[in-house]
């Protein structure tokens, strides 16, 4: 059964904070939920499906349902694919709605990495993972965690291999940050609002080669929420209707070390699944939200989603081709994770939020894509360099 046209995103909210010393993580989740419900014109008692991932504190969904007073929930989903979870949740919410399991699905993300030492809550011991003492820990830990892998150097390994195989350059990667910064200058909430140049990116401090400081995303507190509803409820609301027309998901890992391939992501599977379901092609897409934990993340995903040939991502992004009003594929017009917001180190939900803004015509006028009727939101969670989950949704404006 296809989810095409079976669900609509009718509420979206991005928390304005980027630094939350005086709030709890549960509070941020609840503020985001409230914001998205108000945006849709619904109340908490309308919510009958709830979706969250490892950033939800305590016992995850159970703690958050009780905290927020969501008394009518009859469908739960805590699918965890890292930062892509919330994009995967949109597809799962559409499935649940299509199957009659719920009519109003709430998806939340929130966290405070700036306050808790730059670690997702789930990794700091207080998050949504298995209770301590009942688990051996990750099965790979003894053979991987000892080597000092971080998000920076595991993505650095991908960039190094991509450069080796395809001749991609640091200057080409830098264009991705340049484009994001051109968009962020118009976003009053963006964490970094200054426009940067290719030279500034490649001359910034080396973090883990070949990734420089400005190849990396921001670390921010905050969060976001989405409301996905049935077509009947969507028609009863006063907001522009954003239809979910395709969704795909895919895990990817080294699989015994015999299949290590760090120049491709799970988008090679999640993308085609979403495009096929939607019945559209990459060339039809007017706006792209592409997860941007690092510049290399964007480059690989653009290739894997079919916006250009494999290995041609560097040429594709150069010369401002991702800048709205300038290039062929406007991307991350809120400034993305590279400049705007990467709440709790898991920015997937912000990708969907900005796609919704674009399709509603509610993006900043300086970055609004003209006649934006078809958008993609895509994310990667975990680490491209080790194991990750990939999520793609294709969204259409309904007149």
């Amino acid at each position: 059964m296809s989810i095409k046209g079976k669900a609509y995103i009718m509420g979206a909210f991005e928390h304005p904070t980027r630094d939350a010393p005086d709030k709890t993580t549960a509070q941020l989740h609840a503020e985001c939920a409230k914001g998205a419900l108000e945006d849709a014109g619904l109340t908490k008692d309308d919510v009958d499906g709830y979706f969250c991932a490892g950033d939800a504190p305590g016992f995850g969904a159970l703690s958050m349902l009780d905290y927020m007073g969501l008394k009518n929930v009859r469908h739960l989903d805590s699918t965890e694919t890292g930062g892509s979870s919330y994009i995967v949740h949109v597809g799962h919410a559409a499935q649940a709605i299509a199957a009659g399991k719920c009519n109003v699905a709430l998806i939340t993300l929130a966290g405070r990495p700036r306050q808790t030492g730059n670690r997702p809550a789930s990794r700091a011991g207080g998050g949504g993972g298995a209770p301590q003492g009942l688990s051996d820990g990750p099965p790979e830990a003894g053979f991987e965690n000892i080597y000092g892998g971080t998000t920076h150097n595991t993505y650095g390994m991908c960039a190094m291999r991509h450069m080796y195989e395809y001749g991609t350059t640091s200057e080409q990667l830098a264009w991705i940050k340049v484009a994001a910064s051109h968009h962020a200058q118009w976003n009053e909430h963006a964490y970094l609002k200054n426009v940067v140049t290719v030279e500034e990116v490649v001359n910034s401090r080396m973090i883990s080669d070949p990734l420089h400081l400005l190849d990396c995303c921001v670390v921010t507190d905050g969060g976001g929420a989405l409301i996905v509803t049935s077509p009947e409820i969507a028609r009863s609301l006063k907001r522009p209707k954003v239809k979910v027309i395709g969704a795909g998901e895919a895990p990817k890992g080294p699989l015994g070390g015999q299949h290590l391939d760090l120049t491709h992501s799970g988008a090679v599977w999640s993308g085609p699944r979403a495009f096929e379901e939607a019945g559209v092609k990459p060339a039809d897409i007017k706006y792209a939200s592409i997860y941007d934990s690092f510049t290399i993340t964007v480059l690989m995903q653009l290739e894997d989603l079919g916006f250009c040939e494999k290995g041609q991502g560097g040429k594709f992004v150069a010369d401002g081709n991702l800048i709205s009003g300038v290039g062929k594929l406007p991307f991350n017009t809120d400034g993305g994770g590279l400049c705007n917001n990467h709440p709790t180190n898991r920015g997937g939900i912000t990708k969907v939020i900005e796609a919704v803004r674009q399709l509603r015509g509610e993006a900043h006028p300086k970055v609004q894509v003209q006649n934006c009727d078809l958008a993609i939101a895509h994310g990667t969670g975990g680490s491209l360099g080790v194991r990750h989950g990939s999520g793609t949704v294709i969204l259409e404006r309904e007149a």
């Binding site: 000092g148 150097n153 390994m157 991908c158 190094m160 080669d209 699989l255 015994g256 070390g257 015999q258």
Partner: protein, 138 residues
């Protein structure tokens, strides 16, 4: 004295003790003797990494430990410069037996690594744990 000055430049970072499980204990016991073991599956004939009781490639439970010379080539790497103990290189080695192994590269300068370079395993001591495999250019 001179060791503490040379080590960071050669990227020999301190490595924490690995988590040893009932499943991985034979590997770490061999590591303590300086032997590098990998798992090979008798059903499909392929070696895999990291070691598991059930073959992740074919699903058979007929897997055996096999001693490996621990030689291969660098698939990729990245030198982390933001580190309180000096730069260190994370990377993958494609073993001659096939599987890719996550590791650190040691006894080499940060600019001395290249993809495709031949490397060999050595064991580096940890605090309160068995020594762990790292790789160094041949």
């Amino acid at each position: 004295m001179s060791e503490t000055q040379e080590k960071p430049a050669l990227m020999t970072r301190p490595i924490p003790a690995p988590a040893v499980t009932v499943e991985s204990k034979p590997f770490w016991d061999a590591a303590a003797e300086g032997r590098f073991l990998i798992k090979r599956c008798n059903a499909c004939g392929k070696a895999h990494w990291y070691p598991r009781t059930i073959c992740p490639l074919c699903g058979s439970d007929d897997t055996v430990w096999q001693e490996s010379p621990g030689e291969g080539v660098i698939y990729t790497y990245s030198v982390m410069h933001r580190s309180p103990t000096g730069p260190y290189a994370l990377g993958y080695v494609t073993l001659d037996e096939g599987p890719a192994v996550m590791t650190n590269f040691v006894d080499v300068a940060p600019d001395g690594l290249k993809i495709g370079m031949r490397v060999k395993v050595k064991f580096q001591p940890t605090e309160n744990g068995p020594p762990v495999p790292v790789f160094t250019p041949v």
